[in-house]
């Protein structure tokens, strides 16, 4: 295995009777951003929600198959431990509204405990810097997270996810609810982040995939159609279906 951080083998997932993810095998190299694209309802969100086992917290949801983090089976481990190791950022910024900016970033650290005050301060500041939010909030760490704009809130969510030092970062359409300027900031951020932690980003925006990802996977109707280096996928798609999609013939 050549630096594959996360390996997925024959993953299947269901919502009730809907077979949302069908037998997908895919691997994610370290220090790279991988984009997952596809039309709405193709199973791309469900797919990454299986990677940190948050899919199964929904009623009637289940998943089968293998997900290996550094060779260890994610589905054989304690889900809370897996979710700490595999961080996630969601479609809409979901800051904790009753907590301060500091409190939001520190939430995960407090959950796992064992951090001294100084350590916690250091990790919070570090995470805010990584999420490119530090300069904007350093004067008001004790204020409510709700005072931030939508884009800032999303970066706060990224800082919160980074604070617990995850080994992989999953992002489920992280910019879909944001304005173009905030979106650009998030994209820049992903570009920087991938050097520290592998990023898996689901997006319905092909330009975004092209801008941030080293590799891109195309999903259609729950199946993996094609995965390739981003440039190749967009310029010389191997599959007819991929070509139709990226040229806008459907989806």
């Amino acid at each position: 295995m050549t630096g594959d951080k996360l390996v997925v083998e024959n993953l299947n997932a269901w919502y009730g009777k809907t077979h949302a993810v069908q037998d997908i095998s895919l691997s994610f190299p370290d220090k790279r951003a991988t984009a997952i694209i596809g039309p709405s309802g193709c199973g791309k969100s469900t797919f990454i929600r299986c990677l940190n086992r948050i899919h199964e917290t929904q009623p009637k949801a289940r998943a089968e198959g293998k997900v290996l983090l550094d060779g260890a089976d994610v589905y054989a481990d304690d889900p809370t431990e897996i979710r700490r190791k595999i961080g996630m950022v969601f479609q809409r910024p979901n800051v904790f509204p009753t907590m301060s900016i500091y409190g939001n970033v520190a939430a995960g650290l407090k959950l796992h405990g064992g951090y001294s005050h100084d350590e916690m301060d250091r990790l919070v500041i570090e995470s805010l810097k990584k999420a490119a939010l530090w300069e904007e909030v350093k004067e008001k760490l004790d204020q409510s997270a709700l005072q931030l704009s939508g884009g800032q809130q999303q970066r706060l969510c990224i800082a919160r996810a980074l604070a617990v030092q995850p080994e992989v970062l999953l992002m489920d359409e992280p910019a879909s609810a944001l304005d173009p300027i905030s979106t650009a900031r998030i994209e820049d951020l992903i570009f920087d982040l991938k050097n520290q932690v592998p990023v898996v980003i689901v997006t319905h925006n092909m330009q975004q995939a092209a801008r941030v990802a080293d590799r891109t996977a195309f999903l259609y109707l729950g199946k993996l159609v094609e995965v390739a280096p981003t440039r190749d996928l967009f310029e010389r798609p191997a599959e007819k279906l991929t070509e139709s999609y990226i040229t806008g013939r459907f989806g």
Partner: protein, 349 residues
């Protein structure tokens, strides 16, 4: 649109609308114009109607306060502010004491029972709400929730009867002796001569706790259910266990709703009359121990009102005035707390 002419012609509402004469209705000849003027009248009619309703709602409590003050005026003039701290209730003169009335034991009784009821009822209600909103499987949720809600529909006299025939004997023979045995050394659980008959401040408080349970738990449950899933997932994605995710997500998100629910419950506990009257023991003395019989503002009114002479009646109504003031105070305080809670929702837990 074909409707407007028909509507204007047959609808009786505009004719009876109070705001209608004020409207300068332009002569409707074209379709759209006509429709606009019609909806204008209807709008103004409903505007007037809801303004009226709001005014009535403001006028009612004001009127209530005026009338209650008027009815208690005799006692207010006779006893002055000393009434609130007066400790004795002597409706007819005796060789040892002149006629005198004081509210203090009843104010204390009301506060005591409400506080204890809250101490027992709030954790229970919130626990039930968390179970129903977050943990219970779907098939269990609806039936259990309706059973809890059903408690709210039980008339308070039925609670009183149950208290009298089931809870009081049980307290007398099981709970009270056990508490005295283990906690009797504290003044709160001291056993006095004549206490331990089962009817007591504690018994009444327990009944109250059960009575406020459905209110607090169903309002809290709705507040918890209203929490978006993304809040739970935010916590889960950080590696929270189910309980931690509930605490970080819904419980924090819904905390002002839960606080409001508790205040609703407190309001009910303070004003509840029948069940308390039947189980508290109706003693005019200060209840220093929880096993002592006592009296609340409302139970005192209920017990004495029927046989009271005019001056005592006036004093009893003044008790009602005090109860109203107390409820108002609690509500205002709660509202202020709620506001500061939502304003500086920033403080990290």
């Amino acid at each position: 649109m074909a409707e407007p002419p028909v509507g204007t012609g047959t609808d009786p509402l505009p004719a009876t609308g109070p705001a209608e004469p004020a409207g300068a209705t332009p002569s409707p000849s074209q379709g759209p114009d006509r429709r606009r003027s019609f909806t204008g009248v209807v709008d103004r009619f409903f505007g007037g109607l809801s303004t009226l309703a709001a005014l009535v709602l403001i006028a009612l409590p004001a009127l209530l306060i005026v009338i209650i003050t008027q009815a208690s005026w005799r006692a207010i003039v006779r006893f002055g502010p000393g009434f609130v701290i007066g400790q004795f209730w002597v409706p007819s003169a005796s060789p040892t004491s002149p006629i005198t009335f004081g509210a203090a034991p009843f104010v204390a009784g009301t506060l005591e029972t409400s506080v204890i009821a809250m101490l027992i009822g709030v954790p229970l209600s919130i626990g039930a709400a968390i179970f129903l909103a977050e943990l219970a499987p779907d098939w269990l949720r609806a039936p259990v929730a309706s059973v809890v809600d059903l408690l709210a529909a039980v008339p308070s006299v039925v609670f009183g009867l149950w208290g009298l025939y089931v809870l009081v004997p049980y307290m007398r023979s099981n709970v009270d002796p056990a508490l005295v045995h283990y906690l009797g050394w504290t003044p709160l659980f001291a056993s006095h001569a004549g206490s331990q008959s089962g009817v007591s401040v504690l018994t009444a408080s327990i009944i109250l706790a059960i009575m406020i349970l459905p209110t607090i738990s169903s309002v809290s449950r709705e507040a918890l259910r209203a929490t978006p899933d993304s809040q739970r997932e935010a916590a889960l994605s950080l590696g929270a266990t189910r309980w931690e995710a509930t605490r970080l997500g819904p419980l924090a998100y819904a905390r002002s709703g839960i606080f409001g629910a508790a205040i609703l419950g407190l309001g009910r506990a303070m004003g509840e009359t029948m069940a308390v009257t039947m189980t508290i023991g109706n003693s005019d003395n200060f209840a220093t121990s929880l096993f002592d019989p006592g009296q609340t503002l409302s139970s005192k009114i209920a017990i004495n009102f029927g046989n009271a002479l005019p001056l005592e009646k006036s004093a009893l109504i003044e008790l009602g005035l005090i109860l109203m003031g107390l409820s108002l105070l609690v509500n205002v305080a709660a509202r202020l707390m709620l506001r500061s809670m939502t304003r500086m929702g920033g403080s990290a837990p």
